[in-house]
């Protein structure tokens, strides 16, 4: 074990090991053997996330209650051991990677839906509930939990809240933050607080709830999350519009919104993304297609029909090659399959990927994509852009080969892109969070004074710096 990385000299080694053993013993004595894992096989399983970084934790805790978490944090705090919260490990900024070793909480073991109150339009869950599972459960009551990241089928609500995920329904329905009403949080000293209320409104005192949403596991561990629900829309219809020019697709997206329509989803894919999907098999997209929009409209049957016909016309007015309206659930699914397989399909282009999720004002998208093209000319790297165009949230994927120097080039290119993003008023992260992958770019967007305030907030809640160390702040 290497809980205390800084103690390296031979003299202190014995003391260090004794301390390590004491931490492990304390944890086992308090939580019981079953919840404490320290075998190498287990540790490997918790050493990475979707960024493909790797760092071994020393101990994994599988808590089943708030008190397990509280007890663990008290011990971690006492011995100053780093501690990381982990949901499904599907994060794209390194949030769940234990980069300084220490203890990982596997929160998938806390996956109960505590209650769904159809009369109140609220539900309370433990952090390890998988988002899609939760959506399905509330749908049984005719209710809808809108935040829908592409990872919804495996990512957890806890992770979604920690990163403030947006997802594909954000333009019409907002992001995770807009749905979180109350949290039970274990603070780094092991104490438990309750923020917010299980009511649709509440303004008593400072808004600690939203301060913790998007805090990336650096301030505390959510043990219960109360969210707002809304009635399930009666129906969803789907349409795919194919364009021969990226700018036409962007114009069409703008013009849909100009026509006072807020689609449930408005997803964009560029030529490289389409090429990847084409090569992946199973989905046929004509050769002349260079950009496409995937659009969901929801509401009542009547209004969908009305809006769908406007959207169809708008796409045609903006030079769409073809517009395909899904007639059946199966067709709907096959249209969406295109979007779902992008991420795996991209590995057809190259074996390595950096996934950025910039967000710019929508009026700057064309300009931003041109800048990305410009920058790309200097690098032997493939770039695929797709994402939530209605929100200006574009996932810029840099694909590179597993060859010496390639990763450095890709990172240099990311840096150039980020500078342009911030210069046009955008943000370095729309929904993935900063983690350690983007912490070096924080200073582009956040002034030294604001960063200092954030650091003070961090040390106010976590004076010993045990919670997810090395994340969010530039080193």
């Amino acid at each position: 074990m290497k809980l205390f990385k800084k103690t390296k000299t031979k003299d202190t080694k014995d003391t260090k090991d004794t301390k390590d053993i004491r931490v492990l013993n304390d944890l086992i004595n308090t939580l019981g053997r079953k919840k404490v894992l320290s075998e190498i096989e287990d540790r490997v399983c918790y050493s990475f996330d979707s960024t493909k970084q790797k760092a071994l934790p020393d101990i994994i805790i599988r808590p089943t209650s708030t008190s397990d978490i509280s007890a663990t944090l008290s011990i971690a705090n006492k011995y100053e051991v780093p501690i990381y919260a982990r949901g499904a490990g599907t994060g794209l900024s390194g949030g769940a990677v234990p980069i300084h070793g220490g203890i990982v909480f596997d929160l998938k073991s806390m996956n109960r839906i505590i209650d769904i109150c159809p009369e109140d339009f609220v539900a309370t869950v433990e952090p390890g509930v998988v988002t899609k599972h939760f959506q399905d459960e509330v749908a049984k009551h005719g209710l809808f939990y809108p935040p829908d990241p592409s990872s919804a089928a495996f990512s957890t609500i806890g992770g979604n809240v920690a990163e403030c995920a947006g997802g594909i329904t954000g333009l019409k329905y907002g992001v995770t933050r807009d749905y979180v009403l109350a949290l039970e949080i274990v603070l780094p000293d092991g104490s438990v607080i309750n923020t917010g209320r299980k009511t649709l409104r509440s303004v008593t005192g400072y808004d600690l709830t939203r301060l913790f949403v998007g805090s990336e596991g650096t301030l505390g561990i959510f043990t219960r999350i109360t969210v707002k629900l809304i009635p399930q829309p009666e129906k969803i219809d789907t349409l795919a519009a194919f364009f021969s020019d990226r700018n036409d697709a962007i114009d069409a997206a703008d013009s849909i919104i100009d026509n006072n329509i807020l689609p449930r989803t408005l997803e964009f894919m560029d030529q490289m993304s389409i090429n990847a999907v084409r090569g992946y098999g199973g989905v046929a997209i004509d050769e002349d297609v260079k950009a496409l929009l995937l659009i969901d409209i929801d509401g009542t049957g009547e209004s969908i029909k009305h809006e769908l016909s406007i959207v169809e016309n708008v796409c045609k007015e903006n030079r769409a090659l073809r517009v395909r309206v899904a007639e059946t659930a199966k067709e709907r699914d096959s249209i969406w399959a295109v979007r779902r397989i992008i991420s795996p399909a991209l590995y057809n282009i190259a074996t390595h990927k950096i996934n950025e999720d910039i967000c710019v004002p929508r009026s700057k998208i064309k300009e931003m994509l041109l800048k990305v093209d410009e920058i790309n000319k200097k690098y032997p790297i493939y770039v695929a852009n797709f994402g939530h165009i209605g929100d200006g949230n574009i996932h810029v994927n840099l694909m590179y080969k597993d060859e010496p120097g390639q990763e450095e080039l890709a990172e240099r290119m990311v840096h150039e892109i980020m500078e342009e993003v911030v210069a046009c008023g955008g943000t370095i992260s729309g929904e993935h969070g900063i983690g350690n992958k983007k912490s070096q770019f924080m200073e582009l967007e956040i002034s030294p004074q604001e960063l200092a305030i954030m650091k003070r907030l961090k040390s106010f809640f976590d004076p010993k710096g045990i919670m997810n160390p090395g994340k969010m702040f530039p080193s």
């Binding site: 009369e119 109140d120 209320r197 009511t199 808004d207 807020l262 929508r362 969070g433 604001e450 954030m454």
Partner: protein, 458 residues
């Protein structure tokens, strides 16, 4: 009292014409809609963020309280300078800096009146949803400081959900920018929402960027009278829970509130009406017509005395005038009013209101309840005539009501804020540890405690 040298320094740096210390001006800034009174020593009317920053730097240097003020229409004492010092009147900072239809964003100064912003946005077929009852005169800065909800919250959420970015002058006079003018941004801690609802105790907003939506094509309105509260609540349940409509507004008005508006209202209100629902539905034309007719039926199925569908914009306005005139009309019943705005889970509204009316009888004090029933948010007005003994009973009544509210999982304030009128009740809802954390945060941002002292924390 503010020393002459401080006054000179202020006049020197931000212009004599923006600094007022005559009694007439000070009186104008001594109260808000709670009817509390306390004279500020000085009134300052900044025109720029530099004015705000300079004022606050000087206040910080000399430990002078600063109390920011929008329209002074708050209902929790937020803008009352209870510790004297400087009243910072932000109404001159009332420019709409930029509306961007493509980006669905607008940037405003804090003194912009909410309705003015809504009207300007509507010209571009855009929509800023949060609409407190005071929208015709209250300011965006005030709305953000209290995190107001308003009439459209059921469908569209509250102010917090629309604030994307802010320029804020901190208590040391420094200026920070939080958030981004993008529809999404998650870099670092969410300082933006942390400041929303901070009631002027952490800093002064000098620019606010808000999210806009496309303007709904049409709004349909139904006003429905019921012979008792239960029928009205059954109707609400049926609309939301059984039929899963999400109306733009779902307002309820109780018996005492109806009595108060009977006189002033031009509408004929049925004699036997003891409850009223006012419902707005929005969307595209066809949808609205359909929804309205379905909701009309739901009202009738639940024994509505009448369910009136507005046929013209004028009729719509007339219906809403009834709702909007409640608050001022209550003064017909008695000279004093304590306006509480608790929120409970919707399933608890019935039991809490029952308890409220029982308490009203026990203490022989009249109460009028109305509000955003779809969200479980009730404006409870305790109406009374001044007098020492009465004051004590009013206080006890409110205490008992809020204890009940918190015990069923509710909150002591849904949108008015704590201010000083509700600060003693905070401990009902928040644990000592949570209060300590909030005090610690206050101290981190405002170590000298100059920003709106005496508010939120008892």
């Amino acid at each position: 009292m503010i020393q002459a040298e401080v006054l000179d320094e202020l006049c020197d740096k931000i212009g004599r014409e923006n600094v007022f210390d005559n009694i007439e001006e000070r009186i104008c800034y001594s109260f808000d809609a709670t009817k509390e009174k306390h004279l500020p020593d000085l009134v300052i009317r900044p025109h720029t963020k530099e004015h705000v920053s300079t004022t606050i730097s000087i206040a910080n240097k000399y430990n002078i309280p600063v109390c920011p003020r929008g329209a002074g229409s708050g209902l929790s004492g937020g803008a009352v300078p209870i510790k004297g010092g400087i009243a910072l009147d932000l109404k001159n900072m009332n420019k709409i800096v930029e509306i961007n239809a493509r980006d669905l964003t607008v940037t405003v100064e804090p003194g912009v009146v909410t309705k003015d912003l809504q009207d300007e946005a509507a010209k571009l077929r855009l929509f800023y949803p949060p609409e407190p009852g005071s929208a015709g005169f209250s300011t965006i800065g005030g709305n953000v400081a209290e995190c107001t909800g308003g009439m459209t919250g059921m469908k569209y959420g509250v102010t917090r959900d629309y604030v994307l970015a802010m320029e804020i002058v901190l208590p040391d006079g420094s200026i920070i920018n939080t958030g981004r003018k993008t529809l999404r941004s998650v870099a670092g801690y969410d300082l933006t929402r942390f400041f929303v609802g901070s009631e002027g105790t952490l800093g002064v907003f000098t620019r606010i960027t808000l999210k806009l939506l496309p303007l709904p094509e049409k709004i349909g309105t139904i006003m429905s009278y019921f012979k008792n509260l239960d029928d009205a609540l059954d109707t609400t349940d049926s609309i939301l829970i059984k039929n899963h409509f999400l109306p733009r507004s779902l307002e309820f008005v109780d018996k005492t509130s109806i009595e108060a508006v009977r006189g002033p209202s031009k509408e004929r209100i049925p004699e036997e009406a003891e409850a009223l629902l006012l419902i707005d539905v929005d969307g595209n034309e066809r949808n609205v017509v359909n929804d309205i007719s379905k909701i009309e039926n739901i009202c009738k199925e639940n024994n509505a005395l009448e369910a009136l569908v507005a046929k013209t914009d004028d009729e719509r306005k007339a219906f809403w005038d009834i709702r909007r005139s409640i608050s001022p009309s209550l003064f017909k019943i008695a000279s004093m009013k304590f306006n509480d705005d608790f929120c409970v889970p919707r399933s608890k509204v019935r039991e809490v209101l029952k308890k409220v009316y029982e308490l009203s009888k026990t203490y022989s004090i009249q109460v009028a309840a109305f509000g955003h029933i779809g969200e479980g948010h009730v404006h409870l007005n305790v109406i009374y005539d001044d007098g020492k003994e009465i004051d004590l009973s009013v206080h006890n009544l409110i205490s008992k009501v809020l204890e009940e509210v918190v015990s069923v999982g509710g909150t002591i304030t849904a949108e008015h804020g704590v201010g000083d009128t509700k600060s003693e009740f905070v401990k009902l809802e928040l644990s000592p540890h949570e209060i300590e954390i909030m005090k610690g945060l206050k101290k981190m941002f405002d170590p000298k405690g100059i920003m709106n002292p005496g508010k939120i924390f008892a």
